[in-house]
């Protein structure tokens, strides 16, 4: 049996003043697009940061692509990538320079060809030689996606991937659907954009206050709560009392 792309067991991240992640467990199968869904402070970005090796958990186990992420992250990092609107590419370097450096960091052969191909795919060719700091928000999103896809990752982690204007957001969603279908990659995103999650994801983990309070496919969640869309489910959960929202095992 193939091990899931991501397995998280009893993950806890505790800070002196708060518990950001409170004993969550989940698995994301290979080739699946899944989402951690929740409001601000729900623990989504903290969970992604731990999966990326940027943050050490207080307790728990994390396996990514068959490896223990806490002990052997350098075996897995070449096979993953991530994109976030909250982490910039250096502004004074051109897009091409930025991408070339990341291509080198991933040890890619034929870097220039790879960048040209991505530029064509993501329609960033016309501003490859422009400083990254002089791009519009939509252009930056495409460039960030190009950086995230440089090494053709088997696992792509996205933090709020399309939190932009509807046109760019729709464009990014289409591209991600195509990428997953073409490569069989696994995509895990943190989002509070319901439409995005409903369209892209087959698995959703609803988070609140560091816990997973419910999970399932978007359709199953909508059905379970007797709502018409995921946004209503989200609002129900977000506004529900703690007692009603015990973590789902």
């Amino acid at each position: 049996m193939i091990e899931p792309a991501v397995t998280v067991e009893n993950l806890v991240k505790r800070y002196p003043a708060t518990v950001a992640v409170d004993g969550i467990s989940f698995a994301v199968g290979r080739g699946v697009t899944a989402a951690l869904l929740g409001g601000n402070g729900a623990g989504k970005t903290t969970t992604l940061s731990i999966l990326l090796g940027l943050l050490l958990p207080t307790a728990g186990k994390v396996r990514v692509l068959g490896e223990d992420m806490l002990r052997h992250r350098y075996r897995v990092l070449p096979l993953m990538n991530f994109s976030s609107p909250f982490v910039d590419l250096p502004h004074r370097l051109t897009v091409r320079q930025n991408l070339l450096i990341y291509a080198r960091l991933y040890g890619l052969p034929q870097r220039h060809d790879r960048i040209e191909n991505l530029a064509e795919d993501l329609q960033i060719g016309e501003f490859l030689d422009r400083p990254a700091g002089k791009l519009s928000a939509g252009q930056k999103t495409r460039v960030a996606l190009a950086k995230a896809l440089l090494n053709e990752p088997e696992l792509l982690l996205l933090d709020e991937p399309a939190s932009l204007d509807p046109d760019t957001g729709d464009w990014v969603r289409c591209y991600l659907e195509g990428y997953r279908a073409r490569t069989g990659a696994t995509i895990l995103m943190a989002s509070h954009n319901m439409a995005e999650v409903e369209r892209l994801c087959s698995e959703v983990m609803m988070m609140k206050a560091g816990r997973i309070v419910d999970r399932g496919s978007p359709a199953a969640l909508i059905d379970r709560y007797g709502r018409t869309n995921l946004e209503e489910v989200f609002l129900h959960i977000a506004r529900g009392s703690r007692a009603e929202l015990e973590p789902v095992s």
């Binding site: 090796g53 940027l54 943050l55 075996r75 070449p78 910039d88 004074r92």
Partner: protein, 268 residues
Amino acid sequence: MNRRGFSAGRVWAMLLRYLYLLRSSWPRTLELTYWPTLQMLIWGFMSQFLYVNSSYVFRAFGVLLAAVMLWDVLFRGQLGLSMSFLEEMWARNLGHLFVTPLRPYEWVLSLLSMSLIRVLLGMMPAALLAIPLYHYSIFSMGLPLVAFFAVLLVMGWALGMAICGLILRQGMGAEGLAWTVVFTLSPISAVYYPVSILPAWLQHASWALPSTYVFEGMRAVLFSGIFRADYLLTALALDVFYLTLGAGAFLFAFHDARRRGALLQMGE
């Protein structure tokens, strides 16, 4: 793809990033040479004045000029490392860098390499300009100059890594340390005067610094033509000690930043 161990390619990638940054701004490149050249000009004229008014400078015209240029190796070595590090902080780029296979020690190696390049870019014009202006060549010191340069550069690296560790720990509020800390060592490094001038209790602190051995050794070469190998060996041993401490502090701070989640948040 190299999934395990050290990769020179990744070190080169990071070095290339800093070279792109340097190339992208000619005022910054000019600034590298501006201060060392200005310092050399001031101390060159001062040396010309003191040469006929001071028995100390009369013993060797270049004693102040060589001191100011070698002090700049220490200062620029530390600053060169800290500045490249701060570029990543200002760019909020750590979150991207450390989801790649880049190891912290590979990043450090690129910072050290960039520091060397910045020192050479900053110092060479000043050193070369002193030859036609004051008929003084620091290169006339010969091989001891290479040893002095290396000791001071490594001391700058040790200090730079400790400062970067402190910035990782304390956040950008501590970035001013990159410009200021090294100057606290200047009075006790005996840069322009012999260590014997210092109060006895301060001399103990002075002899604990590799820089003191360099400047005392430099005066021995310039005044007496003697190369003090014992000074060099002690300075090298101290360098190894401080470099270990500096690297340890940096790597500890990096690990701590991963524990606190600071790698994603660090920035302006």
